[in-house]
Symmetry: C2
Subunit: 133 residues, 2 copies
DNA sequence: GACATTCGATTACAATCGTAGTCAATGGTG
DNA sequence: CACCATTGACTACGATTGTAATCGAATGTC
């Protein structure tokens, strides 16, 4: 019997600029490369550059192109959440030595949280404290 | 009158591997390149590689070499805290679109916080809520 | 002081990233 | 159907990163 090997898609690395593109994709997919540009700061991005990124992202397996009509239509293959997971754990390990608490402290001190944010976070922490509460 | 321009040391980018080296530096400075290697996973780092990084980090202005005795002695010029600041705000912007709350939520859900961590964080949030409390 | 050893500065080199340009095919227009 | 415009595939190219090797200078040894 042949055992199917689980298709471990170990999330590829997504560079800074690729993230910008991907945010446009996640927010508006399915979309074309031209549409992607529309959702990016127009003065900082040229169409050709966007195109290159679409290609690279497809090669990396982050998106998929439907080569059907004339303008290619793209969809994400990996969700923003998944990417946040990867990027987040890398960041945590790299910058905060894998310790979540100092990281949290850092962002509590440096980020500007609204009163609402703070309330919400406290609630979240409560729940975590007593998972069934 | 000549106005002194504040010496804005806009923190340079520090790559993943450079971060590893810098952690050794921050933890044990002042130290030599040979000592840096001692504090890194020995099987993953060669002395020559470490050396290259020391050079690059000096070029970038992250560390400084004292060329006095024979083995160069290195010190950091930028603190871990400063670097965390830079790296943190980039990460926040790139991955969480600049919104701190979702970031925090993410790490509350994904990181494993101890009861103690949670208590501490709640306290921090309290303080933030009433800054003079 | 001659020689072996140790270190640092310089050089190397492939992969990835940012930023496009070229060129050819596809598709709309008259 | 001939032509022009759009668009995608491929190519380009310098900077950065990861990973070292080479080569020459400073140091310690006899």
């Amino acid at each position: 019997m042949v055992v199917a090997i689980s298709p471990v898609m170990n999330t590829p690395r997504i560079s800074d600029s690729e993230w910008e593109v991907m945010k446009a994709v996640w927010d508006h997919e399915p979309l074309t490369a031209v549409e992607v540009l529309k959702h990016l700061p127009h003065d900082q991005w040229k169409q050709k550059t966007v195109n290159t990124f679409m290609n690279r992202l497809e090669t990396k397996g982050v998106i998929r192109a439907e080569r059907v009509g004339r303008p290619n239509v793209y969809r994400s293959l990996i969700s923003e959440k998944q990417c946040r997971g990867m990027e987040g754990s890398q960041f945590l390990k790299k910058v905060f030595r894998g310790e979540v608490a100092p990281l949290m402290l850092h962002f509590i001190e440096n980020g500007d949280l609204s009163k609402n944010d703070i309330a919400e976070l406290k609630q979240m922490l409560e729940k975590r404290y007593r998972p069934d509460g």
